[in-house]
Chain length 323, copies 3
């Protein structure tokens, strides 16, 4: 009743076969290259930044006016070092990919560039706190099931996703490669909300429930916008160049003006689609054209087939649902 030791003797040959597939033209190994940013380090950085954005809620308890400066000071110091290292790795990786070389050496001092970007990000924390306070307020005002703003900060997935997006978006604005997407994909995993870090989003932004929300890279979203679960702000189709390659970087996703509400599972597609200010897009609506300001768009009474009564043989009849 035990495994056969002799069978294990074929394992070294298997190892050889596997290693033989790690060829230089193999796109899915990263051997002999400079280190990529560390996934674990990026998560640790996010948790530290959140500790400073929302002090006293999660990891540290017992913080008060008398000790908070020490706590923030030491966290900022450590964030400086961590961010510098990880941003430098991301810059070096991008250099290698862009210039198709395989060398970790470079004339550029990526640590110095990384440090500048790290400090620039940290300097934006007071402004980030200001914006995030508007998001928390919007959640409290928009959800009748919510009792206190503490609840929002403490356990609302929408705020989790928006917080990580806002941090990552600052890194996009600083031209930091690779790391912003790592951050928002981590938030996506936590919350089911997928906001591309390249999107532009105004103040007082609220996502309720959130699972399945997708906000594309080139979306422009105004102030006081509210999205429910399953909303897609996506692309219509992709243009390719003469050689058949996708054209990257064009505006492919909609513009949502101030004060718009988009209900559950609605889909809004296209780079030239504009939803005008203070409009309401109803649940499950699917649109690819612009909507004027102050407009409510809901599904017409849906054509439903209703087979009613206890008998399965009864005649189908059309329901007359009023919405």
């Amino acid at each position: 009743m035990a495994s056969d030791v002799r069978l294990k003797e074929q394992l070294p040959r298997l190892t050889e076969r596997i290693v033989a597939t790690y060829t230089p033209d193999d796109a899915i190994n990263h051997l002999g290259h400079c280190a990529l940013p560390s996934y674990e380090a990026i998560i640790a950085i996010l948790l530290d930044i959140k500790d400073i954005l929302y002090p006293g809620y999660r990891r540290k308890v017992g913080l008060h006016a008398g000790n908070i400066a020490y706590h923030v000071g030491s966290t900022i110091d450590s964030l400086h070092d961590q961010l510098t290292t990880q941003i430098a790795r991301a810059l070096r990786h991008e250099d290698r990919v862009r210039n198709k070389h395989n060398d970790c050496e470079s004339e550029t001092d990526y640590e110095a560039k990384g440090q500048t970007m790290a400090i620039e990000l940290l300097e934006r924390i007071p402004a980030l706190r200001k914006t995030l306070a508007t998001d928390v307020q919007a959640a409290y005002e928009g959800d009748p099931a919510c009792q206190t703003t503490d609840e929002v900060v403490f356990c609302y997935p929408g705020i989790e996703a928006i917080t990580v997006y806002r941090i990552a978006h600052e890194l996009v604005r600083l031209d930091v490669p690779f790391i912003p997407r790592m951050m928002t994909e981590w938030a996506h995993k936590q919350t089911g909300i997928d906001i591309h870090p390249g999107a532009t989003i105004g103040e007082y932004f609220f996502i309720d429930h959130g699972t399945g929300v997708v906000v594309g890279e080139t979306c422009e979203i105004g102030d006081h916008v509210k999205l429910y679960q399953g909303v897609t702000l996506g692309a219509l189709s992709f243009k390719t160049d003469d050689s058949g390659e996708l054209i990257r970087g064009q505006k492919r996703h909609p513009t949502i003006e101030d004060g718009v509400v988009v209900y559950a599972n609605a889909t809004i597609l296209g780079g030239r689609t504009v939803v005008g200010h203070d409009s309401v897009i109803g649940s499950s609506v699917w649109i690819t054209r612009s909507v004027s300001p102050n407009t409510t768009v809901v599904l017409e009474q849906p054509s439903l087939r209703v087979r009613g009564g206890a008998s399965v043989n009864s005649v189908d009849e059309h329901a007359n649902y009023q919405i």
Copy 2:
């Protein structure tokens, strides 16, 4: 090739700037207040309760008739202490918010109240096991891909979400604030299923796949109800009072009677919407009005635009899909 130490000299000034934003009227810091319930402690409590609800499946192996009483006894003892502490924190926090004071001292003995509530929850474990056994049975009977009930307990996300909901709902019934929502948001993160702890749900409840399901705070769900992924049981719109504030606590979400099946991505909205017993709501249907018992509601053959054949120049024609 290293970061510049002199640049770090600006960090203390940055720390000062950040700390200066932690003002008393800042809604997103929790400094100098009594401790909130600990997120980590709440998760640990949930895992311990699940160990007792479903003994032998996950964390402890080798449990049998001869040692199970010791295991349960010591877990219950530790749960008593942990629950007492965390519930006391939640009660004290609610007192502070409700009475707008900033003081951890209070005439109320929150530890004593917390202990009573903790023991009351633990006393309900045998009844919870009875109900959860019906949910597991419903999953086994409802999913042709399922081989054994063990599989359901072991890895079905629906059961994970329902288990946490049922625990959290007992805490709602005991008037424990804050913690129930923390619990269901943790389950939401694990499973993509967002059940508000205030909802009322009968026996033999099954959610298949589950990602994107939302069950609102004031839903009433009967026995033998089955939901698929992406189903929303939500609110139509929110009433505000004279000062424009949301009115909280009204019935805003639908009633789903016994034996109803709701297929993937259907949306049912409104506090006065009742889906009568043994009805079937088809995939992607969107309704805001009541449905009689024994009724099947599916989308009418959808109006589809089909551009067919190998030629892109062919004329559009309307498909005649029969469902």
Copy 3:
């Protein structure tokens, strides 16, 4: 201000009441049985296999031609032992369930069977790498927001879900019970993408965003297929046998031929539904009938009710959306 020790005296009686519910006919305890596969061990196995499939990306940095063979060799050795143990547990559990006995003893040498299956899985790693390289390529080519294939390997949830599915599917092909579903449910938790390990999926498979995707057990998917978030490839309804029990194992889910694209939140149902090669299924479309090759199916201009202008009293008018 402390909990009352005397109240704790009722806890032993509560423990007795709970333990009394762990009866032999209670379907939700696993006491006195042979150990089930360990959830933690299965996750550790997945992370180790991913380290070998995509060397150098995540957990180990600094791998290069000179040390990679040692790393792979020792990981394969440990995987052999872990897989053997866990597969043996799964086989023994299945034996117990199938033959309704309660005994860990058996005439079958499950360790030996487990070892054979473990080695067979490991032998398939080179072939798995080949297929997964096509999936990574498909993601890069299909997403205009993607800069490098490294990004895909590093943080795309679609690749995470597909990788775990492909490993689990090999175990299904080897007739390993229980473990494949544990694996894909773990991936479901990470990504919101629920692919049943029994599904058959060709090369160059891409899932973008992915939250809410469900791929059923008996789906057959060709090469170069692309799915967006919220797509369901599901069953229409379930057949029951004369005694009312579900018939398990029939083809209940659709066939998707080569080169098909299915946009966000589309639902395709039924075991006899075939979507012909190179067809496009538009966002939010819901179909239960077959579609010819080279066909584009989109929602007809949706019947929307638009209430426009600043005045709430304005007349409803039908929008004429062109898609």
